[in-house]
């Protein structure tokens, strides 16, 4: 059923335009004016090697920034987020800000909060990456609540073992050493459908370049051939062999696996 809204009078729109213009001029003349609703915060967090089945407290650089002329109380909460290569954290209660409120003096910042990880003791959480946000807000009146979402990226413990009961594309390990010797990682298709996985090495995550500092190969009968695409049936696993080329001395980079529904990477150290 179509829905209709009454036409807005032209005069109201013109009035709004004038109001915004006046507000803009006022802001330019008085940048310190704090009458408008405002929120400011900074920082992010990247938690590596997060253990499962135990609580851990991690420091972050996340804090609220007071832009007003009086002391402000900030609140912090965790929400799910989606990022390339990262799954939304399954349960936002697995990550708790500490403290969840903090005050900031005039023209100052709150203390940098910590994050408590509370991942359950579930082996399927090994070799996983999750994304979340810490949402920073301050008490506000009216219908608008302004907030800042600061990113949190989580990497659980890395292992060479793959859980066979996983129901998605998986790799193991998710971080590995890179040297002159040939090493290997596993790609496993735990989904019900076959998958075609693009595999490549890159120096910077998300930026596929043409540089070839690390060589990727896979086994085919009696030979090893370059690996840039792997077709996996449901429940099938494939080994990828990698090694640094002799003349390469740059960044170790990442081995990236792009499946049909999920993208993964192994961080080389």
């Amino acid at each position: 059923m179509p829905i209709h809204v009454n036409r807005c009078p032209r005069s109201r729109i013109v009035g709004s335009y004038i109001g915004i213009t006046i507000s803009t001029i006022f802001f330019c003349l008085f940048p310190g004016f704090s009458g408008a609703t405002s929120i400011s915060a900074k920082g992010n967090a990247r938690l590596l090697d997060v253990a499962i089945g135990t609580d851990s407290l991690y420091p972050t650089s996340i804090c609220g920034v007071n832009t007003t002329s009086q002391m402000v109380l900030f609140s912090f909460e965790v929400a799910k987020n989606d990022e390339e290569f990262y799954e939304p954290i399954p349960d936002s209660r697995w990550l708790a800000p500490f403290p969840d409120t903090a005050s900031a003096p005039v023209s100052g910042e709150t203390r940098k909060i910590g994050l408590i990880t509370r991942f359950p003791n579930d082996p399927s959480l090994i070799n996983r990456r999750f994304a979340a946000s810490v949402i920073v807000r301050q008490a506000s009146k009216g219908m608008i609540s302004l907030a800042i979402a600061l990113k949190v990226k989580i990497e659980t413990k890395s292992s060479i073992e793959i859980q066979q009961n996983t129901h998605r594309l998986a790799i193991a390990p998710i971080k590995a050493a890179l040297g002159r010797n040939i090493d290997s990682l596993k790609i496993f298709n735990g989904a019900n459908l076959a998958d075609t996985v693009q595999v490549y090495w890159c120096r910077h995550l998300g930026k596929r370049d043409e540089s070839d500092g690390v060589e990727l190969r896979k086994r085919a009968l009696l030979w090893e051939i370059p690996a840039n695409r792997v077709v996996l049936k449901p429940g099938q696993m494939e080994w990828i062999y990698y090694g640094k080329k002799e003349n390469y001395s740059g960044l170790h980079g990442y081995i990236v696996c792009i499946g049909k529904t999920i993208s993964l990477y192994c961080r080389l150290e």
Partner: protein, 236 residues
Amino acid sequence: MVNIRFKQLLIIATLTISLVVAFLGAGESMGTSTSFSALETDLEGEGTGNTAFVYSQFTMCPLRVDLIDPTDTSWTVDYDIACWGCYAHTDTGFAFRNMGCVGANIKLAVESNSWRTSVAPPINPGFEKFLIWAIAIKSWHGYYQNDDFWLDYDTNRTACLIDTVPNYQKITSNRFYNRSADMTPYLEPPMDATGMNLHPNNDFILLLLLQSPISIDSEDSSETIILHVIVEPIGG
């Protein structure tokens, strides 16, 4: 004579130092979240018993967003509309400005935790879904009409439907804006495929219409229904 030269030198030196300081200060405040270098630390997570490290405490300058208009953000209930349970807020729109030094994307959500209804209580208080119909534009041009909201709804041109409560959902262009259909540059939202890209010192205006799942007392609406406007750094 010597004194005058000394004063001149002093003034030149002062100006030079001021310029250098201003230049360094300006350089520090520019950039996006992806351009900030990572500082690696070897802090251990407490109570793990395992090796647990935290890296990359990004030294990022703050994000900041201001609502610059209107100052009165109470709900406006349009009693004349044919839509049962709709709350129109496109009369004025909400003008925001990125006052920080990092490019940002915008997420929207609506939340209502304390329902008091005039018709019937919802089955799951606080979890019924709102629909937000949102239009983001760069600036007022004086020609946009409320009617266009629903005209565009029919053709899926500019109105973005956000299914929410309180699902923080990013406004994206592919479901929101059709360049071939909206030729006027004023309607072009500041966004790309990753969401609304609100760059430092830029404004954007949100025209909103919220469709509630049930009828709500207008007296309650200003305190019980909260529109969350969430700013998230680009990249990082």
